[in-house]
């Protein structure tokens, strides 16, 4: 079966690239699963989403992806994230701490957009690291 060529890039560096069997990402419309020979598509990713890359014989690659795009063409998948982090690279303690602080900020003030965003991002980082949120 054909394989997908996957590249996960953020503006400052290339996070990961390699072959995969399936890519699952969360766009503003909902979750999208990409398998080989998928039709060309460009989608807008949500803030604080989790990207899952399924590989044969290997554990899934999980990354927290904040904003950006996914573009699929001719079995090439590129994930252009504004910021991204592999699940294995997440500092769980720091992310938990940041999440708690953001939640406290949300509770104390009614609509704090920055804190909302921060909470979403850290929740995604924790989910990517395999923690329950």
């Amino acid at each position: 079966m054909a394989k997908l060529q996957v590249g996960v890039v953020s503006p400052e560096r290339e996070i990961w690239s390699g072959e995969a069997d399936m890519v699952i990402a969360k766009t503003v419309e909902g979750e999208i699963g990409i398998m080989p020979n998928h039709a060309p598509v460009i989608g807008v990713l949500v803030e604080g989403g989790v990207l899952r890359v399924k590989r044969d014989g290997n554990a899934d690659l999980v990354a927290a992806v904040h904003g950006g795009f996914i573009s699929v063409a001719a079995n090439e998948v590129s994930v252009l994230a504004e910021a991204a982090e592999l699940g294995s690279e997440v500092d769980v303690a720091a992310a938990k701490d940041a999440l708690q602080r953001a939640q406290a900020a949300i509770e104390s003030s009614q609509d704090d957009a920055d804190a909302q965003l921060e909470a979403k991002r850290n929740a995604a980082r924790l989910r990517a690291a395999g923690e329950e949120v």
């Binding site: 590249g7 890039v9 953020s10 503006p11 400052e12 560096r13 290339e14 766009t27 503003v28 419309e29 999208i32 039709a39 060309p40 598509v41 460009i42 989608g43 807008v44 904003g67 950006g68 795009f69 573009s71 063409a73 001719a74 590129s78 252009l80 504004e82 910021a83």
Partner: protein, 300 residues
């Protein structure tokens, strides 16, 4: 005579310490160029992919009608983003940039366009503040190591004033392009409105695929174009950072060379003076001894 010798010794000492400083600056700059180049390289994949995505969207939607791509027929105001450095000691780096920016300003004004400068880097901000020119925006503190958030901040301000009712109609960017360690060029680019070039030529890697959009072509373009502008600004910032270090290395190298040349000239002069002093002392001693000998011979 002794006074001149002391003076020369003092000057040599001071020039030597200057040379030490400039030499250290040169070494620091050369190690920073490598890091700056690595950052430039790391940003390439994202830039390439986003350019491809923009091309994909634009070539799929037959009539591109987006505020960021539509050029006004009679632009009245333009924003010019000038990317300078925060610190000096980098030769003509900032002077060249600002000269080019002035030329652009003159060109735009001759076409009846009012120019608002947006300045990044302490040197450029100081230059504009001194001439009491009003700036549309100023950013300092990251010229050596720009992060993506810095680029985003600049892009947000630019796009906001671009979208505003009586805001700017086009945005130019004056920055330094890093070609190699030895060559850096000042370049002027128009980043907004984006130029959509229609070609009938077939693209190099075969025809572009017919994309589906999620949620819709318009929405994708809405969030893709600002990202594209950010990425262009980020790349300009990174190139400028590398160029700044390269310019600094060159300036510091020639400063060190000049200092060494000065030390050579002064040392030669000092040796001359010292030798003249010794020669004079000897002739005085000889003269004195002769006089003593003569007077002793006269007594007998």
């Amino acid at each position: 005579m002794g006074a001149q010798l002391r003076l020369l010794r003092r000057r040599i000492k001071s020039v030597k310490s200057t040379a030490k400083i400039t030499r250290a600056q040169e070494l620091i700059a050369s190690s920073r160029i490598v890091k700056a180049q690595q950052r430039m390289q790391a940003a390439v994949p994202y830039e390439r992919e986003i350019t491809r995505a923009v091309t994909g969207v634009v070539s799929n939607t037959s009539s591109v009608d987006h505020p960021l791509t539509v050029a006004k027929e009679n632009p009245a105001r333009a924003g010019v983003l000038i990317i300078t450095s925060d610190s000096g000691f980098c030769g003509g780096f900032n002077a060249n940039l600002l000269r080019e920016a002035e030329a652009l300003r003159g060109l735009l004004e001759s076409r009846g366009i009012q120019v608002t400068p947006f300045v990044s880097g302490r040197k450029g901000v100081g230059w504009h503040a001194f001439r009491q020119r009003e700036m549309g925006g100023q950013w300092v503190g990251f010229s050596r190591k720009p992060s993506y958030n810095d680029a985003k901040e600049i892009a947000d301000t630019l796009i906001e004033s671009f979208k505003a009712e009586d805001g700017i109609d086009e945005i130019h960017i004056v920055s330094t392009e890093f070609v190699s360690m030895l060559t850096q060029n000042v370049v002027v680019n128009r980043i907004l409105p984006l130029e959509v070039v229609e070609t009938t030529e077939a693209p190099k890697d075969g025809p572009l695929p017919y994309f589906e959009f999620e949620p819709s072509a318009g929405a994708v373009l809405d969030s893709l174009l600002p990202r594209y502008v950010e990425s262009r600004i980020f790349s300009a910032l990174l190139q400028s950072a590398a160029s700044e270090e390269a310019a600094r290395r060159r300036a510091m190298k020639s400063a060190t060379d000049n200092a060494n040349e000065l030390i050579r000239v002064f040392t030669q002069k000092m040796n001359q003076v010292r030798q003249a002093e010794i020669t004079q002392e000897i002739s005085e001693i000889v003269g004195g001894a002769n006089a003593l000998a003569d007077s002793a011979a006269g007594k007998e």
